[in-house]
């Protein structure tokens, strides 16, 4: 136990102000404050991999590391679309996932915000459209916001999440 505690103390608190200082974009107000003002509670996200190469998943997972500390600012990933305010969809949408993606959207309560992540989710990326790929997420379900990048950085994904609920 003493090892664990000393490790925690040595590590300290790493959470960065949003966006991360390494980014060139100007510092915006804290995400947590926006959430509290607009939603008045936590934002629940359901991630759906609709056929991605798993690169975007790695960066979405990074959002939960201590640097970005997504749960700390009041955003959490939920296990069911029925609990979700927002779907974070990575693509391209494979034809084999088309039905599952539509059903996941159906299961989410209104207003069903959708953010498409990555070049593939935005426009089909290197896979494009073919017999097995529907390309962009917006070809299959309505999308409110896209974030480009292959994969997009965690702070770019965070910025897209912030802007979509501010605009909604």
């Amino acid at each position: 136990m003493i090892d664990i505690l000393s490790r925690m103390i040595r590590t300290g608190i790493l959470t960065e102000t949003f966006p991360a200082p390494s980014d060139a974009s100007p510092v915006v107000e804290g995400l947590q404050k926006d959430l509290r003002n607009i939603l008045g509670r936590a934002l629940c996200i359901r991630h759906v991999d609709a056929g991605s190469c798993n690169g975007c998943e790695l960066e979405i997972q990074a959002l939960n590391n201590p640097y970005y500390n997504l749960e700390g600012v009041g955003i959490k990933f939920v296990a069911s679309p029925r609990h979700a305010d927002l779907l974070l969809v990575t693509g391209p949408v494979s034809a084999n996932m088309e039905e599952a993606l539509k059903r996941t959207l159906d299961a989410a309560p209104d207003p069903k915000l959708v953010v498409a992540v990555g070049d593939c989710g935005t426009c089909g990326g290197v896979f494009g459209t073919n017999y097995a790929s529907r390309g962009a997420v917006s070809n299959v379900i309505p999308v409110h916001r896209t974030v480009m990048g292959c994969p997009p950085s965690p702070s770019a994904i965070l910025e897209a999440i912030r802007s979509v609920f501010i605009e909604a």
Binding site: A62, P66, N130, S133
Partner: protein, 514 residues
Amino acid sequence: MSDSFGQAIRELPSNLSCNCTRVGALNWRRAAEKLHAAGGRLLTLWGADDRDRDGRFRIYAAYLLHEGVAVFEHPMDQGANPIYPSLAEIFPCALHMERAVHDLLGIASMEPDHRGWLRHGAWPDTVFPLRREFDGNTQFAVQSQPYPFVQVEGDGVHEIAVGPVHAGTIEPGHFRFSVVGEKVLRLEERLGYTHKGVSKRFEEMPQMEGHHLAARLSGDSAVAFSWAYCAALEAITQTTCPPLAANLRALALEHERLANHLGDLGALGNDAGFAFGLTQFSRMKEDLLRINAAAFGTRYLFDFIRPGGVAADLPVSAPRLLLDHYPVLEEGVSALRSIYDNHAGLQDRFRDAGILTAETAAQLGAIGLAGRASSLPLDLRVDYPWPPYDRLEPKRVTQARGDVAARVQVRFDEIFESLRLCRTLVKEMTAGSIQVDCPPAEPHRLGLGLIEGWRGPVLIALESGPDGTIRRCHAHDPSWQNWPLLEYAILGNIVPDFPLINKSFNLSYSGHDG
């Protein structure tokens, strides 16, 4: 030259020693039996439509033997829907590959299981996307079809269906559990959900751009796949990558291994209820990704490796930065290892969970990391070293227990070994060229690229077309071999341990589905 079947053998261009034998149907199977008896492993299976060239379909199988890779090519003469002898009785991992070949090409094995593997109803069963006459851009409305899972009957047996959308930030696939109480009697996997038609997509790309797609077959293995692609292309064009570029490629590959192992070790702690582990390892992974951004210019090295070399040299400040960071990472991982090893609650979950015995692993053809945790020592970097691994003398890491704990230990040991390799690579870095021209390959040249990624050997078989085009490109992820292992490792375990056991293998869906 000829082999014991009296067939002509030709050398095949590759980064490993590789040859190709043309066989008929009888010897297709006999060769598999003989190679199996000699300890060979099935690496991959793929088909090609060569009716425009000589009126035939071809099926290929690549085996790994002590002396290198042996490819067998079986041209088929029986018209539009030919069949060939199945290898699944000899190499069980061939079953899914044969089903996939049928879905894409319409050439069937004699194995009776003809349920669609990649085809879930997104295209009609009379359409075969990899045939030459098929236009890849044709789209069909999805006709959802039932998939008959094997039913387990008896008192108190019920089914749990999971997926394709999973409860977490992971890829889609379907798991059908048959359970009694909490105990798993049977698991049947259904994959193919992320099939994006990459083989057909490759055929629309010039050779010089294929590495972009290769890097995106499985994002967590971007370096391994893009290197395998470039190795295949460089082999058929007789291009030699400059020594500095080879060093940088290996450095990128080891960084990819480090990042994935760090991520997995954290996730494994978390799946066993130890959130501290996830916090610490995800911090170390993020640190490494930021080092990547500073040294390679990008967090994930998707387009770093390209035909003839690499995209960029390290900046002047990078060697110091890297050499300063490795000891920090090493200290962090050592400390966490000691905490993991001494944490009774964690070890209670890891030990004896999801055991894959050495015998089962060998029978099923386990490969890569999961194989090494079950006493199967194969590591291409050690056994068939290509530059620069031929002078780095990487050490092999194995474990005997085959449980989650063993797969955790393999990851810990491989992190330390990777760090040692990284240090050597950075220290040896000298000025030099990072890129040579890679000319277009002559038409109809077949070459293989084989690289030990963090998950296991990834393979690209590349056949050139005229004027720098790709005629056929087959990509193979080790997940093909290792997905069926999970169906065995879970037997007799309880359902709540499935996420932990699944994570300890951490197989690729996208790399498998293609």
